[in-house]
């Protein structure tokens, strides 16, 4: 077990890679009641085209299957794992993203038992035709719930504008039609391919003794038989740099319009420190352009084009990435035009002062401190970073090194007409 110290943050992180390939991280947190643990596989909605374990040919699986699998893993022959957790005073949950499926619990007592339950239930699937059919009704309701949600439709509409081929454009839960093709055999095929310990990461954060917990996990894993796993073969069609379409307007049962603009990322082959720097630089650029202290924000707010729902974000992973800016608005076309202008002014050399840059960096550093108050944030983000070969605790030192030149280069390279798109939700007539 290695120990990594983060002096500035006064944190210690313990790590071990077990013989079966599982990466285990433990971060002791003094003073907290709660222990939070996530058990995550590097398998999400985009992993829909791959060579199943033990086979040679690529297969394409139905949209929404990773999320379906997440639901079904909670059900066992003798009942529901939620029951087990609540008997042990824990609350459990799970989520599926584009690139990950995470199972988690938090508890303030019986932590050893809960950890055992978490690891064991994820590593012991039980799928039957009957329970798979039953789940289709439940997930069908989850899908219709999102269909009625204008913010979700706006977000996915924009991703679909930006991406022509990449499966990031597929809704994580799939559609009622696509999930109707899911069978227990397909679930086992996905499970066996992606839930091998060498494709997974266990993170524990809370008032815990790292030696004791590492022993427990080591022992638990030693009891289970896993064969050596060949590298997973995933396939992604080539994605052009251009967007799929420049604009999409959705009519929905709403009173207030919504507008989101997006910029498709470049350099999506990046990993590690390079990716970390790229992602942070883009986020600092967005802060300079659209943060509450920016002139742009003030202008848009004064003109009545944005309100408190206005937000922006940049995210990038291996194979895809996008910046998004927008929110509710009384005038979606005017807002789209103004945001676009502001972006292109930045490309063509809007100058920021060193003072503004320093302030934006300070703001991000403070936000990071606030975030690491949260065990959930640490576990989820650490895992996301680790799957992209980055280290969460490099955020502050990387931020400190961002220069004005980095910002300028970013603006001039990434912002481009062919990678720009708009999505709007407007009231149905």
């Amino acid at each position: 077990m290695e120990k990594i110290n983060f002096d500035q943050l006064q944190e210690e992180l313990y790590h071990e890679k077990l013989p079966n390939g599982l990466n285990v991280y433990i971060l002791p947190k003094k003073g907290f009641n709660k222990t939070f643990a996530t058990f995550t596989t590097k398998y999400g909605s985009i992993d829909n085209h791959f060579v199943p374990l033990g086979k040679e040919e690529y297969v394409k699986v139905p949209d929404g299957i990773a999320h379906f699998l997440e639901h079904k893993l909670f059900e066992k022959e003798d009942g529901d794992v939620f029951q087990q957790f609540s008997k042990q005073g824990a609350s459990a949950n799970a989520f599926t993203s584009f690139t990950r499926t995470a199972y988690l619990f938090s508890s303030t007592s019986d932590v050893e038992k809960n950890l055992e339950t978490l690891v064991d239930f994820v590593q012991d699937p039980y799928f039957s035709e009957k329970t798979v059919e039953k789940e289709k009704g439940i997930i069908g309701q989850e899908i219709t719930m999102y269909d009625d949600n204008p913010d979700w439709r706006l977000y996915f509409g924009l991703i679909q504008n930006l991406y022509q081929n990449h499966p990031v454009k597929i809704d994580i839960a799939g559609t009622i039609e696509s999930i109707s093709h899911i069978t227990k055999d397909l679930l086992y095929e996905c499970y066996n391919t992606f839930y091998h310990p060498s494709n997974m990461l266990l993170f524990i954060v809370g008032p815990v003794d790292p030696n004791k917990f590492m022993d427990q996990v080591r022992e638990n894993q030693a009891k289970k038989q896993y064969k050596e796993m060949p590298e997973i073969q995933r396939k992604f069609e080539d994605e052009p740099v251009q967007t799929a379409q420049p604009k999409q307007v959705l009519e929905m049962n709403v009173q207030t319009s919504k507008c989101l603009i997006g910029m498709k990322a470049l350099h999506v082959d990046q990993t590690g420190p390079e990716l970390l720097k790229n992602e942070l630089t883009m986020n600092v650029l967005l802060d300079l352009l659209f943060g509450k202290s920016s002139e742009n924000y003030n202008q848009l707010y004064n003109e009545g084009l944005i309100d408190e729902t206005f937000s922006y974000d940049y995210t990038q992973e291996q194979g895809f990435g996008f910046a998004m800016v927008g929110g509710d608005t009384e005038n979606p076309d005017k807002l789209a035009d103004q945001l676009k202008n502001m972006l292109f002014q930045a490309k063509n050399g809007t100058t920021f002062t060193e003072e503004q840059l320093e302030r934006a960096k300070k703001k991000k550093i403070g936000a990071f401190l606030r975030a690491v108050n949260s065990p959930e944030y640490i576990a989820n983000q650490f895992t996301r970073y680790a799957f992209n070969d980055m280290n969460l605790f490099d955020v502050v030192p990387t931020l400190e090194k961002i220069t004005m030149d980095d910002i300028k280069t970013m603006a001039s390279e990434v912002i481009s007409e062919e990678r720009f798109s708009v999505c709007q939700v407007i009231p149905k007539k």
């Binding site: 709660k34 609540s86 824990a90 303030t108 049962n253 309100d307 401190l369």
Partner: protein, 426 residues
């Protein structure tokens, strides 16, 4: 549980609550203002904090104020509104980095304190009026916020349930005020209201973090002073007795129906059976091991979400679920059956033990965050009680099955609200 050791001091015009703990990397201030919910004031109270947080005398534009917050290592300042019982509560939260975790060790606590006090007490005012432009902008934002409830069908159906269920009671008012009352607010009458609120509201300041009580007290003394007051109590309205259950169906263009059911629990925070009510809610619908989740979702496969929650000061319980339009009768039937089962004591010791464990865990987890801790402690202010957290947990754990059955028999279904698509309404 040492971190909840709350030290309370009576200050001039408000109470100071200090919680010293070293578990966070930031320090948090929460300023709370409480007054009875009234139609007359609710919209002004929603607008006021928005105006105050957008600029001040020293930072007369949003850009200036927000730049200063960024400068303080991205200190966050945000406002929040809540209804607790028949009270309307405004909260200002300022969270600022603890410089011990920064390479730059300039002390930040006092600067954060000064900024909070600037925002609360030194607004951007000309004569006897707030800045006109600021008020206009914030009125527009408030209108949009009120309107946006319509677009989020889960929130919308909850608001509609309360409007139907609590007709004629202050609790039916929306937390963000009423759209039709926004226009009549002026920079003058809002400034008038600002003075009134700061002289009449019950006010509390929570400071949580790696702080020293004496230091906090002396800074608070020098920065925040108001007139002493006797806070107004909400007039407790008799719940109008309904002859029969109220059923309301509303039609809109939606794919999923939203089913919201409101009950009167006839129990509020501070009552001797309040903890039994908490357990009732936990067994009935609060968690993923509860009867609603098991029967509506897992067994009948009718819903993705189905749960119940309590309003502790008004004495309400709300069930919410999203279902297919055609399954209305079946879903309502199953939910009714679960309440009947509770009334008959049809739940196992196992369910009771399980629920106690989960609630205990939930409380301990909530107090791990400064916000959650503040909310738990603030219950005592709202209800004028002094229930310690330890007592809360102990009383909850001592609760018997008989007490829970007694609670179940006090609960009355009041209103069923269903937001439905076009094809389902005959």
């Amino acid at each position: 549980m040492d971190s909840t050791a709350e030290k309370i001091t009576n200050m001039q015009g408000y109470k100071l609550h200090v919680i010293e703990t070293d578990k966070y990397k930031t320090n948090t201030f929460v300023w709370k203002m409480k007054a009875p919910l009234t139609k007359e004031d609710v919209t002004k109270r929603a607008l006021l904090p928005q105006v105050l947080q957008s600029s001040s005398a020293k930072y007369p534009t949003t850009t200036a104020l927000r730049s200063y917050l960024d400068e303080l290592y991205g200190a966050t300042l945000f406002i929040d509104l809540a209804k607790k019982g028949e009270y309307h509560i405004i909260s200002f939260t300022l969270e600022i980095a603890n410089e011990n975790f920064l390479s730059d060790r300039t002390p930040l606590l006092k600067k954060g304190f000064e900024l909070l006090s600037e925002v609360l007490t030194k607004p951007n005012v000309t004569g006897n009026a707030f800045d006109q432009e600021t008020v206009n902008k914030e009125k527009r934002t408030l209108k949009q916020r009120i309107q946006s409830v319509y677009d989020d069908k889960m929130r919308y159906s909850n608001v509609r349930l309360l409007q139907e269920m609590c007709k004629g009671e202050p609790y039916a008012l929306q937390v963000n005020g009423e759209a039709e009352d926004v226009d009549s607010i002026t920079p003058e009458n809002l400034y008038e209201y600002f003075k009134k609120a700061f002289s009449e509201d019950e006010m509390d300041l929570y400071v949580i973090g790696d702080v020293n009580e004496d230091e906090v007290k002396s800074i608070a003394e020098s920065l925040l002073k108001f007139d002493d007051r006797t806070p107004q109590k909400a007039v407790s309205t008799e719940t109008p007795k309904k002859e029969k259950e109220n059923e309301v169906k509303e039609q809109q263009d939606v794919k999923q129906g939203k089913l919201n059911i409101g009950y009167r629990t006839n129990i509020v925070y501070g009552d001797s059976d309040y903890f039994a009510l908490q357990l009732f809610n936990g067994i009935f619908g609060g968690f993923s091991h509860s009867k609603l989740f098991i029967n509506v979702r897992e067994k009948a496969s009718l819903a993705y979400y189905v749960s119940s929650r309590l309003e502790s000061h008004k004495g309400l319980m709300m069930v919410m679920s999203g279902i297919d339009l055609k399954n209305y009768d079946q879903a309502v039937g199953i939910i009714r059956d679960q309440l009947e089962a509770m009334k008959k004591g049809d739940f196992s010791d196992q369910e009771l033990i399980q629920t106690k464990a989960v609630i205990r865990n939930q409380i301990l987890e909530t107090i791990d965050t400064s916000r959650g801790l503040t909310e738990i402690l603030y219950h005592n202010v709202v209800a004028s009680k002094d229930i310690k957290l330890e007592q809360w947990i102990n009383d909850m754990e001592k609760t018997t099955k008989e007490e829970i059955v007694a609670v179940a028999n006090k609960i009355e279904l009041d209103t069923i609200y269903f937001l439905t698509g076009s094809e389902a309404v005959k």
